[in-house]
Amino acid sequence: MSSVAQKKGFGATLWDWLTTVDHKKIGILYFLGGGFFFVLGGIEAMLIRWQLHIPNNDFVSAGLFNDLITMHGTTMIFLAAMPILFGFMNAIMPLQIGARDVAFPFINSLGFWMFFFGGLFLNISWLFGEVPDAGWTSYASLSLASEGHGVDFYAIGLQIAGGGTLMAGINFLVTIINMRAPGMTYMRMPLFTWTTFVASAMILFAFPPLTVGLFFLTFDRMFGGNFFNHEMGGNTIIWEHIFWIFGHPEVYILILPAFGIFSEIFSIFSRKRLFGYPSMVFATVLIGFLGFMVWAHHMFTVGLGPTANAIFAVATMAIAVPTGVKIFNWLLTMWGGSIVVTTPMLYALGFIPSFVMGGVTGIMQGAAPLDYQLHDTYFIVAHFHYVIVGGVVLAILAATHLYWPKMFGTMLNETLGKVTFWFFFIGFHMTFLIQHWLGFWGMPRRVWTYMDGQGWNLANLISTVGAFLMAIGVIVLVYNAIVTSIKNVKVANDPWGDGRTLEWAIESPPIYYNFSATPLVRGLDSVWIEKMEGNESGLTPAEPIKDIHMPNGSIIPLLMSFGLFIAGFGAMFRTEESWGLPLLIFGLLWTFVSMAARSLQDDTGYYIKKEEILRDLKRKGGQN
């Protein structure tokens, strides 16, 4: 584990990545894994739009179309957006609070591998030809009626991936509570750390309902349970409640880190402190809290009655207030600043109008009687894509450019970055703006085709053209990433020039123990403060350089997750194939044995000697 750069063989490098517990490497793994699934979900989206570009199209069959919409939604939410955000949280958040790693490096690795194997499990359904087809919401009556193993893949795959998410959330919470550097009080934490904190707390409360719901579904489909079978006294509406008690907070789990990323960007590229920092923090916490109080607005047409609908309508509208506070604080951060339009800033600028539009259409749907018209039409498709693409995906793309140097030590090409932005941004509005009207004109969502003569043809064609513009943008980004990685021009600590938080005061990418000495934090935007006071390094150490305790890598997280992956197939084929039950038992045993090995092994980690740290410092020319 020497820090001196040395050539390693392919096998050794692979082993290093499979066993790593370093938050920066796990961040990259999440980023690459999520990126892969993002492209997969994007291809599914293109097929959907191609099917709908003309009326009565038979490019894909009705059944395959339902597979595509289900997998597009599930993949984008669970396997693309969330893991990529986890990638940034992992790579950046510990640096922002001046920590050497997350609180539980082993669990961090386990969380990643469970996500990875869960996602793999879900997508292997394509090879079996039995793909989830009940929508990403998998409402119970349809998910129970769905033939083949499609929905089984959904239930088990998400169960495994969801377990990983829960672990990651708990890990981030403990990290932020316990591992902040001296002086890093809660009210000095960068906004991205704050939003990570609140999103993690939301994961802690939102994912257990999903776990329970998926177990119910698994039992109903594979083990003769009757939780949702109304003929046996079950109830399908219960699934809808359970799903949305998870599902609505999930939206905020995605959007809050996006808010955090944009808060960093506005501040850095306006060269100005975030306007109204305390109210930004308060708004974040309030949104997190209210996010749990509004799930039934997804169910206005279920027939809950006027009282329930009225309460949830007003609660939903209330969320607009803290969100509005955030928008105006960002505007006022720019006001009076010194704005430079880099690629990340371009995304942040595009985000404001896009997200505001997504937000206001959300309020419109919050008006319950109006939602009776808008629910399950293309209006809602337009709305949630404005929020998730206009908010979360723009944030992910912005952060990809912003943090690329910090994660990989080299910078994405700015010109190509702007080309990506314009293709993506124009394509995005072209795809989704017109869909609001499709909804007004009576087009339901999730339809695999539509008849001619309903006045929907032109709008659908425009929408499809827009989708392909977005695809071009993503292709340019992938090209940019590949070319940049091949050139691999190394950059300094703060390639953007106006970094304000701790991660910009250390190497790009940071050395594996992050900080030679734990930094002392003297205020919000600590690096900016140090630099303004003439400390060019941006850091003041809180302690002398001394030995650092580090965890050992381990292959056990991968093995544990792999056992669950195997057990999933066993559960699915338990009644059909003779090898089903043995495989289920074998997979679970595999996992339990791996867990036992972890418990019985006495792994206390290792120390990096002071001399080695000093040697590293000397090599870096005394820089952090």
């Binding site: 009940a134 105006f328 009687p369 007004f440 004109w441 309903q454």
Partner: protein, 353 residues
């Protein structure tokens, strides 16, 4: 230069106008051209909320653009260090209180309409003689068709809902297999048909469907229900009360007054089809397949195909191909072309109007 700019302006104005005029959709299925009180209430709420939201968008975009133009580093110089403002309580109070007021403005009518549209208390009302005062229709959604029973009138039909104009029509909604959602966009919002409980609501139909392009309003299933969800359309015929009463009388007599356009077709139908499809409008819901008593009066075959004999024969031969996952088996090979032709002719003749 100026001239070019002016032309460009005129062009964009025209473009905006075109979009605006085209923006209302088609009368038979657009929520923007409401054809009844419920749809109009919802449309009013749409106008109010869009107005408020447009105001918000304009304010945000205006501040955004001014800030972006005024505070560019290229203007201020590379070395300019802006003042590090912490915040402003006054401003923050302003943009907390104004949104609260705007939301109150929207919340009050929202709550009012939620209760108004949810009021079905008059549903079971009876007059002195014990007759129902209001028309009630029991809707059952099935894979992938709609059954409409009129419990107080003793009649049942399918795929094409017939209702009187200018009065509240109450609906009991349920699904027979998986969840669907009942939606007539031009008339009012949707309500789900759950599998385990009956949902109730009302709609008011104020436009005569005779004046529409196809003579019917379009109805849709709005909840994903399987492969043929997209094809689970139905149609709605609205008519003045007197005409509706005549239709009801004709339906009630349809068992005895059946028009037989092709006796051979009738015989074949009773051999091959009667197990699932009734041809009398008298009865209750719960049939295997759609009631065909009014088949000749309908607008579509299977809810979405052209109403021609050729399409009907195609449908009977290959229903699984046209509507994958529905419950009707393919009759291709089971009936000869001649037999199919006779059945189709018989069905096209079934009429009560």
């Amino acid at each position: 230069m100026m001239k070019g700019l002016k032309k460009w302006r005129l062009f964009s104005l025209l473009a905006v106008l075109t979009v605006f005029l085209a923006g209302c959709g088609q009368e038979e299925l657009s929520t923007l051209l409401p054809a009844g009180q419920v749809g109009r209430d919802q449309f009013n709420l749409l106008l109010l909320s869009s107005g408020i939201m447009l105001l918000v968008i304009i304010v945000v975009v205006a501040i955004f653009l001014v800030a972006l133009v005024r505070f560019r580093r290229s203007k201020l110089g590379e070395d300019h260090i802006p003042e590090q403002v912490e915040g402003s309580h006054k401003l923050e109070l302003v943009w907390t209180i104004i949104p609260i007021l705007l939301i109150l403005l929207l919340a009050v009518p929202t709550v009012y309409y939620t209760y108004k549209l949810g009021d079905v208390s008059a549903m079971g009302a009876v007059d002195e003689d014990g007759n129902a005062e209001n028309l009630v229709v029991d809707v059952t959604a099935k894979l992938y068709w709609w059954e409409f029973e009129y419990p107080d009138l003793g009649i049942v039909t399918a795929q094409e809902l017939v209702v009187p104009m200018d009065e509240k029509v109450y609906f009991n909604l349920i699904a027979a297999d998986v969840k669907h959602s009942f939606w007539i966009p031009a008339v009012g919002g949707k309500l789900d048909t759950n599998v385990e409980n009956v949902n109730k609501f009302y709609l008011v139909f104020e436009k005569d469907s005779k004046d529409l392009k196809d003579g019917v309003f379009y109805g849709k299933c709005a909840e994903l229900c399987g492969p043929s969800h997209a094809l689970m359309d139905f149609k709605v015929k609205t008519m003045p009360r007197a005409e509706f009463d005549r239709w009801v009388t004709a339906m009630q007599a349809s068992a005895d007054n059946q028009v037989v356009a092709n006796p051979e077709g009738q015989a074949l139908f009773q051999q091959s089809c009667i197990g699932c499809h009734a041809v009398s409008g008298v009865g209750e819901s719960g049939a295997q397949g759609p009631n065909l008593a009014t088949f000749g009066d309908r607008n579509r075959v299977a809810g979405f195909m052209d109403h021609t004999k050729e399409d009907l024969i195609e449908w009977i031969k290959y229903p699984q191909e046209y509507k994958p996952g529905n419950k009707m088996p393919d009759f291709d090979g089971k009936l000869s072309d001649k037999e199919l032709d006779a059945i189709a002719e018989y069905l096209m003749g079934l009429s009560v109007e």
